[in-house]
Symmetry: D2
Subunit: 413 residues, 4 copies
């Protein structure tokens, strides 16, 4: 007794490769399809529209397939009304809960469409009622509480692929062709600089997600210059980036000499442990800056310019620094709290924090990931951050050039 639903999708379907991905999804979920109608865009800038009837072996399978298709911007022709179920356990969604995308999303309740405030992938949708009527919010699984009204199934939901992504020729196709070290990198530097300036011009914040390689490649001075110039509004990182930066600032002579001589230092166990102890003694990075203990580096620049940072721990951390969230779920909440008004995101030299940020970022925020390892960039796209643009290059030289673009006065002495 199979179940069917008619869905539709519009956009640059053919030149973006999105249609082949949709049909792949249907196969992967063991469904079947008939293409009812296909209105092709005849000229290069026209959009196309496809209407497809998808079939799955039962309604549960169908609902799951419909949710999957929504990650591609495919909506039901007749979406109907959203179905709500009550959560019966803290931290557990009701069976058949709607699993979200990171796309702009609307939910229909009692015949009216409501915007979802904070799109984030792999969450649930919770409907809250107050004096102004219903409000639909995206909620991660760990934050659901008994009694909350959670959307189940795929009915009554519409998503929208942002115009930008469409024009880029579709997310993944775009991504794939970009994961390569054989690109005119200098041009890419300029494009990233333009993206950041545009975000600032629009009153938006620039979010940076950095790994410790930023310090090891000697890019700390470039980062400091960009913090000074106002291009670093929010920083997400782990214990390692902050510790290596602070270690370099505290034991500057020694490390400085090695940086200046261009010779690598084996990751000494002792400097960084002592740096951690020093900041723990002060109680926080800000305290260490204010007491004059910490006088340079990226974290010092962030504090003196009153910029926000969220440091989240990992199981391999020493210390950690007192500012580090040791509970990763708390850390995710702290990161989410900084997302409003972010208009551009640059990730560099960290797979862990890049994926973590990609997980919570709406698809509408332009996202660039810089890493010497192509796998980091591929992973991000595989996880659903379809707007991500990858640049496989040396992080140190990239940030050096980016600082040169963004901060005309910046020249390495």
């Amino acid at each position: 007794m199979s179940s069917s639903e008619t869905v539709e999708v519009s956009g640059h379907l053919m030149d973006s490769g999105i249609l082949s991905r949709i049909l792949d999804d249907i196969r992967e979920y063991e469904g079947d399809y008939v293409i009812d109608r296909f209105e092709v865009g005849h000229e290069a800038h026209d959009t196309s529209t496809a209407t497809i009837t998808v079939t799955a072996e039962d309604d549960e399978a169908l609902q799951r397939l419909l949710m999957r298709l929504q990650t591609r911007g495919v909506n039901q022709v007749d979406p109907g009304e959203a179905t709500l179920s009550e959560a019966e356990l803290d931290g557990v969604f009701p069976d058949g809960f709607y699993s979200t995308t990171n796309l702009p999303t609307k939910v229909r309740l009692s015949g009216r469409w409501y915007d979802v405030a904070n799109p984030e992938m792999d969450c649930g949708l919770v409907v809250e009622e107050d004096a102004d009527g219903p409000r639909v919010i995206t909620l991660p699984m760990s934050d659901v509480l008994v009694g909350m009204q959670v959307v189940t199934g795929a009915s009554g939901i519409k998503v929208q692929i942002p115009e930008l992504q469409q024009e880029q020729g579709g997310s993944f196709g775009f991504m794939e062709s970009d994961v390569s070290s054989e690109k005119p990198q200098a041009v890419l530097v300029r494009q990233v600089a333009d993206g950041m300036r545009e975000a600032k011009d629009n009153g938006k914040k620039v979010l940076w997600v950095l790994g410790p390689g930023v310090v090891h490649t000697g890019a700390a001075p470039a980062m400091v210059a960009m913090v000074h110039a106002g291009f670093v509004d929010v920083l997400f990182a782990g214990n390692a980036l902050a510790t290596h930066d602070i270690e370099s600032a505290l034991y500057g002579t020694s490390l400085g000499v090695d940086l200046a001589m261009g010779r690598g230092v084996e990751h000494g166990h002792e400097h960084h442990i002592r740096a951690l102890n020093t900041i723990r003694k002060e109680g926080s990075i800000r305290n260490a800056v204010e007491s004059g203990v910490l006088t340079g580096g990226i974290m010092h620049a962030m504090v003196t310019h009153d910029k926000e940072f969220v440091l989240v721990g990992s199981v391999r951390d020493d210390g950690p620094l007192p500012d580090v969230h040791t509970d990763v779920i708390e850390g995710q909440r702290a990161m989410r709290a900084k997302l409003p008004d972010v208009g551009f995101c640059l990730m560099a030299a960290t797979m862990l924090h890049s994926v973590a940020t990609g997980n919570i970022l709406p698809s509408s925020i332009p996202l660039v990931c810089v890493d010497i390892n192509p796998a980091t960039v591929t992973k991000l796209a595989d996880r659903g951050s379809s707007q991500a643009r990858g640049i496989v290059t040396d992080v140190g030289l990239f940030l050096e050039q980016l600082a040169g673009e963004l901060v005309p006065a910046y020249r390495r002495s």
Copy 2:
């Protein structure tokens, strides 16, 4: 007003390259040295002994250099007595605290040498007094409490490089030459199997540290066979390994077909989120096994055979599973609690958890790291896990062959 100390080191100094590393350390710490005496081992199996006077610009620098040299097995000729200072803040060591190595270590108090119970790198040494006299324990920075007696400076401490490492030609030299994909891998499989059997024969536990690539490369059946056969006593992993394993067990038909056809599945957002919710609803992985919800896979095998596992979360986690430690410092404590009686450790397909385990493992436990990415293996050695042996190969085929070696009955159907 420079400070000096005379140190000595014995072993296969010349053929292990350890002497050059010692002199590199002295240069890196901006110290100077005179080799007072060098008794060379004339024949291939003789050991050599060097006595070296090292000088640094002041006593603080000297103490730090001496600690660094101890990571190479270099001790003071006249170690003197350990110096103790009281911790004045929770979670903060006194200034000049002795930063530990992962080598077997002794501390001299009131003229007597005491063994340190649980060597671990990058910690402090705390002296506790009870009816039986003093006891020296290794304590991570985050666990120190006001009033504890902490060893400061490098006096009164001796470390010992395990015989095994010496014979292998020294840790890092050995490591470096092994980080290559151009090795006769089939032979290496047998050596790992021998190491595990030897540990079991000696009544020791085998510790596995696994990443999600184990599931993606189709090695779950091989792992299950090795769990059944008793070769997996303890498992350290993150949320991803357990979730992918459970997802594969719960939605087996679909994923199973793809595994059998050898085609890759894009990391779907929906299956794993639903798998997480299902287990969260049960309350724990064990509950899910006992209630019959979870009936296959690696985690199921661990539960049914009453094997121990520690899952520690990371900032990129969805869910997570109810068994996951979301606080990474708690997670580290849970991992440490499983280390006693471990006699062999195999790490596969995870940089995060491999480094985390390497951080807390004594150097006396044989350690093999298997990864297709050479950087994972190099990182481990750089961080001080000098006993680590790296195998750069495909994790799926490696585990398949290892199961064939360890479990004669194991043949893939």
Copy 3:
């Protein structure tokens, strides 16, 4: 004064992503298009047909765009007659020569369609007349001679995408999703074994393209077993594979010990130079086998089983072996001469020879590329070997398992 032509393409256009690649090509060549007709395949197994009018700024640009589109299986609706021009210089095609694809190709001359005998990419088409009428052959640029009749422009030419590739969901799309180390590798081993058996069952030859990593990973015994069992009909390699194999056979004791102990040997300069000199003294590898100088290894097995091999030199070669073609163009010719009747091709551990073989192989021959480095596999697809299937894994373990599949008696002692 722009030029236009109407083209059509049939097949699984939407689920293969091929349409988006076609439109990408048009954009890249700065052309424009109108989709005149699009007959969509309504159900999953139906094919679709698109008719597109493409426009370029002049006829030369149009002809080049049309050639480009033929690599996607796109043909002119009204192909007309082929145009011929005479070559005026040895080794130089006439201006506007038709640049070939590796697809099955037909050429229309005087109203009749003629099959092209040996499809190969990046060559020209030469028409020869003899008593039986015209014959169209594919000729590489370096082999063209004054007076030859060469096809120019894209008129009068039809290509056909093999059915197999269509069903796999199109070449590149298929490829991309397969370039990953996260695959159930054991299943892939079996699929490769099946492909080889099927080729043998059909009376076809199996072609192997191997790099020296095959010897370094200890896979020589596995290779020897597969040669003995008749699964290696033709071998393409460079000087290095043969030299390392022979070096290992000649200085077996020493190297053998190291292989058995699983320890890597730095690439010694002396063994291989002496091995080269020894074979050069014998005059050829066959001589060395027959005189009893060479008694084991892969090359020995090839000779004793009268199998064919082509060794082509490179600028980094020492020696080289007397069997090596030092002229690379001669080497390519020798390789081409072995292609007839090849029915399956496996490439392992060599980017240079894999790309070289991919260059001359018709797209109709199934092709699997095994390498631990994803870049090798990606490069192959980028260069146009669209039928290539990539397996990112350890070559040593892969060949070990493959030998186990193909040669039931094969077990490592």
Copy 4:
């Protein structure tokens, strides 16, 4: 009946790790040793001297071990006289021929020491007599002719490790610590610039070895600027670098747009084939420049500035360009002919040509290898280019910054 010889080595033996490599070699060749004397350098800048008696199972094994040890700068205490044997076949050395190192070498004949003119690894030494007395030259195996007098065995030969390498802490040790992407890359750029300037100041030539990635990363304008400024005296490359450069110059508009937009182009088969045909028609790159067909790019700059280049083919080449040596042994000879007066060598983005150049370069020429792939750099050191310094970074940004350092007027428009 074992054979023994006493050897000695001087230098920074302990801090360079060279002694451990010497003892590794003895073990690898299954020899034994007694250290007779070890005079240690007591202070940091002193050199040490070791006298070692090595034993092998017979004289042939001993001679081979002694040759191996010479690659480490180890000489016989009593070297005696060189032994000569006559070559009996063209292209074949006599049995037991001395296999050369790339170190400065002396040969003793009739009681006098003669310098070897052109050190190169993996060759033989040939003694020629003329009116001025004997002359010792290094000859590759393929160039030996019947009747030549060839040095056999290790007697009568002394090598010398250049001072520079000693101070760098020994070749391989230095190399290993440098193969990392985590380095302050901007500093390294400056060091390379300094090395080039120093070579030019000393009247020496700068040799560049480039792969096609230089063009793909958009670094052609930077290269052109450095050619104009006189920093590129000799260029070694393959067909691909020159073809991609010329293709980009000929079809500039289209490719230019893509470079400027920072979007990657799939490696089109058609542009480069047509570029090859165009230059083949002109007869040479120089002709194409002089006839006005080729008006830009790296090769154009080399021609207009009368700089030397050697292009050597490979089995994967299309075309090739008429300037390409299709015979690789001829190509090696052409490369060797350009080595005199080279004072600095930079290799970028090519493993094939880097190894080929490393094979023929004396160890006294400073050598820097830039590649985004660590394996390229490691391979070079493994093959014996012990002076090589590796920089793992993005080639495009590296050359961009290097041009900025070397050519003050250079700024990207």
